[in-house]
């Protein structure tokens, strides 16, 4: 398994496979399925199979609310780096629905978008773009480290501070 997952500052192996709706469930392993399939499978997946969900652009994260507490992984698919729906899905999951598990960006994930994704609550990234991989390996996030607005990411802006809560990244 190639080390395509960037998380906590390092690259590691991808243990999660995306499973299309038509494909059969494997006997074991970690698989990411659509919300439809996840809801249909509820409780009936084989014992060795660990289920996560992949949210495609345009799919509503709301549907998963009742199951979020036991989901180890939600992947948000960015079909194109310029399609920004995933940022809202991420913030809704984290801030409105209180999702605490791993939130991963998959798809067209590029270096210039990663700082925004992090602020929206995404913590791991599937990277296939070579210059992006290089930049991450060299720790060149190229972020503007001053935030002019609060988002609800844990620890970013304490409640009751300035509303657009401009702050430097520590």
């Amino acid at each position: 398994m190639s080390n395509t997952i960037y998380k906590n500052g390092i690259f590691g192996p991808n243990e999660w496979a995306v499973l299309e709706d038509e494909a059969d469930l494997p006997e074991s392993g970690k698989v990411l399925v659509s919300p439809d399939r996840f809801l249909a499978l509820e409780g009936s997946a084989p014992e060795g199979v660990e289920l996560g969900v992949v949210i495609r652009a345009g799919e509503k994260a709301e549907r998963l609310v009742a199951h979020l507490a036991k989901l180890p992984m939600v992947a948000i698919d960015f079909p194109k780096f310029s399609d920004g729906r995933g940022y809202s899905s991420a913030r809704l999951l984290r801030e409105k629905f209180g999702y605490k598990g791993e939130l991963r960006a998959i798809g067209d994930v590029l270096i210039d978008q990663i700082p925004f994704m992090i602020r929206c609550g995404i913590g791991s990234f599937e990277i296939s773009h070579a210059p992006t991989r290089r930049a991450l390996e060299e720790d060149r996030l190229n972020e503007v480290p001053i935030y002019l607005q609060p988002v609800g990411r844990d620890g970013e802006v304490p409640l009751g501070t300035r509303p657009w809560a401009r702050r430097r990244v520590a």
Partner: protein
């Protein structure tokens, strides 16, 4: 006006560094043009017909003399000696080189300027009334809230890849000079019965291919909820706005296709979820920002006897005083409109020399404040009436004294096919020919208030839909054709103009407009009935008949 603090300074410098790195990676090939495009657009850099174009932000159209002089310097050093002020109160330079843009941005950052979010599918420069803080009819200064929104929306992590661009405008006066009803979000400052400040909120206005007047979603949004409510609107739009067709991607289409009530319910649901949270605006924060916009220390009214004398003796001054001054709330003061529409000129263009002249005047007479109006003129918002003759004299020496604010030659036009890669017809030469046709002072005065707006393609950057007379240039079988619309307006009683009939060729269009104007002069009930009032009274029939004959 707003001054940067250490955060703003670091922010802008960091953005310059970030963009410089993006340019470097583009030049090295790490970024493809497709990947680079949204990044450069988010920083105001377009690829036009002949060259790159850099659009520099002038937040809500407010700047000082140091900033204006820096713009003049950039025009000289990196451009062909001029700049173009836009309908969104920004300025465009038409000839910068890609590899020089980081340097230009560094020079801008030194004077607290930037090009952040002047383009791209993000929240654009928030615009406001160009007479903000000065106008006699103002409820509250809209720039305070424009600045709060500017800060909140800058490099917003969730809303930097929207379905399409997103424009917010605010007016603080009942006479809407910011065209709020044709913006994605339009905010009209209001006071409720308890005397508290808030906003009437419109959503889904816009021009382009599908012109729409914004729909009211809130009669009174409390001040404290401004950011939370705006975030709720943006989140609904970001999630559900169409992304399959860029011409149907603005929020106006979402309002139209979803239906106002359902969309309003979606917005309210998001709002309820975040209301009272981190986005709530504390009053002391509003006060802190408001302090930046405190009025200047006004002087006592000067000796106005030369003003009165100049009306009698100085050639052209009476017309200038009548057209280009706007009532100020402070006794002895007025706001001066500096027309960038000389007869036969390109609307909105200013030479580096003219920019310097305006900067000098602002410094000497105008409490160091300059505004850019969405009508592509400049404004000195705070000057003593007694100083206006001296100001006029200087303006006249530099081709800036045209007494045509709000008149037939005060034309809005997009750059059109002379510069723009999207345009299908020329706009500037049409504006120039119209300006020459109607340019004598007597003729303009006789015609009175009349807004002509010209777009060189269906994207409607020249706002033709809301011109009293709108002109849309299109291409038909390799030739330019101009469609005329009548009765549009972008004020507090906004309306979309109606197409009057088949279009006219480049050669015919000026005659056609003259026919429309002559028809108005014939049918008006008196001199006090302006074009728009007359049109609204009689409808299109007399104009149609005059243009196409009775069929």
């Amino acid at each position: 006006m707003y001054r940067y603090d250490e955060f703003d300074r670091e922010f802008v410098l960091a953005r310059v560094a970030q963009f410089s790195d993006q340019v470097r990676r583009r030049l090295s090939g790490d970024l493809t043009e497709e990947q680079f495009k949204p990044l450069r657009l988010m920083n105001g850099l377009y690829l036009q017909l002949h060259a790159y174009m850099l659009r520099v932000a002038v937040p809500y159209g407010t700047m000082n003399s140091v900033q204006m002089r820096r713009l003049a310097h950039i025009a000289r050093k990196y451009d062909h000696g001029y700049g173009h002020f836009t309908t969104r109160q920004n300025i465009q330079f038409n000839w910068p080189r890609l590899d020089e843009t980081p340097e230009i941005l560094s020079e801008l950052a030194e004077v607290e300027m930037h090009a952040i979010q002047t383009s791209g599918n993000c929240i654009r420069n928030v615009t406001a009334d160009h007479f903000a803080g000065a106008a006699a009819d103002e409820i509250a200064d809209p720039r305070v809230y424009a600045e709060i929104l500017r800060q909140w929306s800058s490099l917003h992590p969730e809303f930097s890849f929207l379905p399409r661009k997103f424009k917010i405008a605010i007016t603080g006066a009942p006479n809407d000079r910011a065209a709020v009803q044709v913006h994605d979000i339009g905010l009209q400052l209001a006071r409720n019965e308890e005397g508290e400040t808030g906003f009437t909120v419109y959503v889904g206005g816009g021009l382009g291919r599908t012109p729409m007047i914004g729909r009211k979603v809130r009669d009174f949004l409390p001040e404290a909820d401004l950011l939370a409510y705006t975030e709720a609107i943006l989140r609904v739009y970001n999630l559900y706005g169409r992304r399959d067709n860029k011409y149907k991607a603005r929020i106006k289409i979402l309002v139209h296709e979803t239906g106002l009530e359902e969309l309003k319910a979606d917005i309210e649901r998001e709002f309820e979820a975040i209301r009272g949270g981190i986005l709530t605006l504390p009053k002391d924060e509003v006060d802190r920002i408001e302090a930046y916009f405190a009025p200047p220390v006004f002087k006592a009214p000067g000796d106005e006897s030369h003003f009165a004398a100049a009306i009698e003796t100085m050639p052209g001054f009476a017309d200038f005083a009548q057209r280009n001054l706007n009532e100020h709330h402070q006794p002895g003061y007025t706001s001066v409109t500096i027309s960038l529409k000389p007869i036969g000129g390109a609307p909105g263009d200013a030479s580096a020399e003219q920019m310097d002249v305006v900067a000098d005047l602002a410094e000497k007479y105008g409490h160091d404040e300059i505004r850019v109006s969405h009508e592509q003129n400049l404004v000195l918002p705070h000057v003593l009436k007694a100083d206006v003759p001296a100001i006029y004299q200087v303006l006249k020496e530099h081709g800036l004294a045209e007494a045509n604010a709000g008149l037939v030659t005060d034309i809005i036009a997009c750059p059109g096919m002379d510069y723009c890669a999207l345009a299908t017809a020329r706009s500037i030469p049409v504006a120039q020919r119209l300006s020459e046709r109607f340019g004598t002072p007597e003729r303009q005065k006789e015609i009175g208030d009349l807004k002509i707006k010209i777009s060189g393609c269906i994207n409607a950057c020249g706002h033709h839909h809301v011109g009293h007379i709108g002109i849309l240039g299109v291409e038909k079988k390799g030739k330019e054709f101009y469609q005329i619309t009548l009765g549009g307006s972008a004020d507090e009683k906004s309306s979309i103009g109606e197409i009057v009939g088949r279009g006219f060729s480049y050669e015919e269009v000026v005659d056609a407009v003259e026919t429309v104007v002559d028809t108005y002069l014939n049918i008006r009930s008196g001199e006090e009935e302006d074009f728009l009032q007359a049109y609204r009274r009689v409808g299109e029939t007399p104009f149609k008949e005059a243009l196409y004959g009775t069929q």
